[in-house]
């Protein structure tokens, strides 16, 4: 489904991603781990089109998408969330979801003046879908709250909800568990699993919570210094001496 070939991202001398290649199979949940500064989020930004790689190529669904912008990739079915929640803070939680579906008739200025009926009926469908999503995420009670007033965990859920408002094929989740309390975390895991099994979403998931990785991800890709260190199932990766060295070699001691 997704093929990365020798991706390099050079920030004027500092190579955050340095020759990274791997493949993601359809309907899998790939875990992306690695010590801080391994280039995981930069890699996400490259895949999602927020950054253009210095060299290398990205193929998505058999098509070269290396130089597409993020809004174009979205329309091909690639959706992402952010490490730090990027909610639309002055919009309500409901509106945060309602803005997502692509090509809504009401996104045209003229349709809003001249074809209000068509806009309204589309709005009706979008609103119902948004309410369903909020209910699925157990966020119905904050539907009309400004998203900026939600808790960190609720914002994470809302980000996940945005990916459900469109026909996503590949979803990139950047640290969905960070800052989320245990109960909510288990809930989040369950949601991801359901989306994967029932809706056929393919996930790539950056995470430091090893419990979550173990539970959800196969395969697991471990990155260090901008390239792939090892790839395999969780046990193989965990017991690999290179991985241990990559984590423990870090003086910051942030071993997951």
């Amino acid at each position: 489904m997704l093929e990365l070939d020798q991706l390099v991202m050079d920030f004027s001398g500092f190579k955050a991603v340095n020759g990274c290649s791997f493949r993601v199979e359809e309907n899998s949940i790939t875990g992306l781990i690695g010590p801080n500064g391994a280039g995981k989020t930069t890699l996400f930004n490259l895949i999602a089109g927020a950054l253009q790689p210095t060299s290398g190529s990205i193929r998505f669904l058999g098509e070269d998408v290396t130089n597409l912008a993020s809004h174009q990739l979205f329309h091909k079915g690639l959706v992402r969330t952010f490490q730090i929640p990027h909610e639309f803070h002055k919009l309500t939680a409901l509106e945060n979801l309602m803005m997502v579906p692509p090509s809504q008739p009401g996104e045209s200025l003229f349709a809003n003046w001249l074809a209000w009926g068509r806009v309204k009926s589309s709005e009706h469908d979008v609103e119902r879908k948004a309410y369903e999503t909020l209910e699925f995420l157990e966020l119905s009670h904050v539907a009309h709250e400004r998203a900026g007033n939600l808790s960190g965990g609720q914002k994470k859920l809302l980000e996940l909800g945005r990916t459900m408002m469109t026909d996503a094929k590949l979803v990139l989740l950047d640290e969905p568990a960070a800052g989320v309390n245990r109960t909510l975390l288990r809930k989040l895991e369950a949601k991801i699993e359901i989306l994967n099994k029932e809706r056929g979403y393919t996930f790539i998931l950056i995470e430091h919570d090893m419990e979550m990785i173990e539970k959800l991800c196969d395969p697991v890709v471990c990155m260090a210094e901008g390239r792939v260190l090892i790839q395999g199932d969780f046990q193989t990766v965990r017991s690999d001496p290179q991985v241990l060295e990559a984590y423990l070699g870090e003086t910051t001691g942030d071993a997951a």
């Binding site: 809004h71 919009l91 309500t92 509106e95 803005m99 003046w113 709005e123 009309h144």
Partner: protein
């Protein structure tokens, strides 16, 4: 007689409030909806004023036109011209982040002012264009004022509904989302660059219309009128004070600021001449002070940005952030 003067003055003020409210609505689309810091309102105002003037004045020597067309044609042309001028400006400048956009638009407004001042073939230079027909201008003074107020008010109400419709529609939601978080909006498939340009042009067209209404009311337009103080910054103060992101706030802000602005003029004019000139600056100080107070005690403006239209009644409808 005293009463009559008062009524006349009120009419005069109401017409100006309507014109400024239009400009504030235009700015609200750009800043309140889309987060675009346009500090060159005067430029679009001028383009609209001059376009309508050239189109609707009788033929004149030494400059292009006039074409002696109906004022409605002039007003529509004013909107189109302002939109047309906004298009390349937006195309180039909207890539800048907000503070740079502000600097770029100030510069462009100044360029427009200088072009107008120094192109007599187009604008009659520093003397400006006069004898612009005023709709219902043939009536007696007061009737004519009333008629013009009715026209301007009708335009304002129509524009208010057109803009308000967009705020709650998916278009407005998308613009507010882009304003709140550009990266996330991109990741959700919105073409941010194109949408910003749309909002910029939409807002500029209303500013052009405001300029045209101003020119027809005064029956003349000169480069003097394109003073950034009254044609850009006063409108910014109106929007911030009234509440950016809220169309009613924009109109309320226009009313409050214009009333203070023009009443303070009467007050300072009553002073002996030797003080009157200096007192002019007191008016600027007064407006500045008011802005400070609003920003300190009510940063969201008199009427804060509403939650989505039909949900205003929920308990969170009064914003507590």
């Amino acid at each position: 007689m005293e009463l009559l003067g008062l009524v006349n003055y009120a009419l005069f003020m109401a017409i100006f409030i309507c014109i400024y409210a239009l400009l504030a609505l235009g700015l609200n689309i750009q800043w309140g909806f889309a987060g675009l810091f346009n500090a060159g309102i005067a430029g679009f105002f001028a383009v609209g004023a001059y376009t309508s003037a050239i189109i609707s004045t009788p033929p004149a020597d030494g400059r292009i036109g006039g074409f002696d067309l109906h004022f409605v044609v002039g007003w529509i042309a004013a909107m189109l011209a302002a939109a047309l001028v906004a298009w390349p400006i937006g195309k180039i400048c909207l890539r800048f982040r907000s503070d740079y956009l502000a600097i770029a638009t100030i510069g462009i407004a100044e360029i427009i002012r200088l072009v107008i001042k120094s192109e007599p073939a187009l604008t009659n230079g520093a003397r400006g264009i006069s004898s612009i027909p005023r709709p219902a201008g043939d009536l007696a003074y007061m009737e004519s004022q009333i008629a013009y107020l009715v026209i301007v008010l009708a335009v304002l109400i129509a524009v208010y509904f057109l803009v308000e419709r967009q705020f709650n529609a998916p278009w407005g939601r998308m613009m507010r989302a882009i304003r709140d978080n550009e990266d996330a909006a991109k990741a959700m498939g919105k073409n941010v660059e194109f949408r910003r340009l749309e909002a910029f042009i939409f807002g500029a067209a209303l500013m052009g219309l405001g300029g045209a209404l101003f020119a027809h009311f005064n029956r003349s337009i000169t480069p003097e009128a394109i003073d950034p103080m009254v044609a850009t910054f006063l409108i910014w103060i109106m929007l911030i004070l009234g509440g950016s992101g809220n169309n009613r706030g924009a109109i309320l802000g226009a009313a409050v600021v214009w009333i203070i602005w023009s009443v303070s003029e009467i007050a300072t004019d009553r002073l002996p001449t030797e003080y009157a000139v200096q007192a002019k600056y007191i008016r600027l100080f007064l407006i500045g002070l008011m802005l400070q107070l609003v920003l300190r005690f009510r940063p969201e403006g008199l009427l804060p940005e509403p939650l989505r239209g039909d949900q205003r009644v929920t308990k969170s409808g009064t914003d507590q952030s």
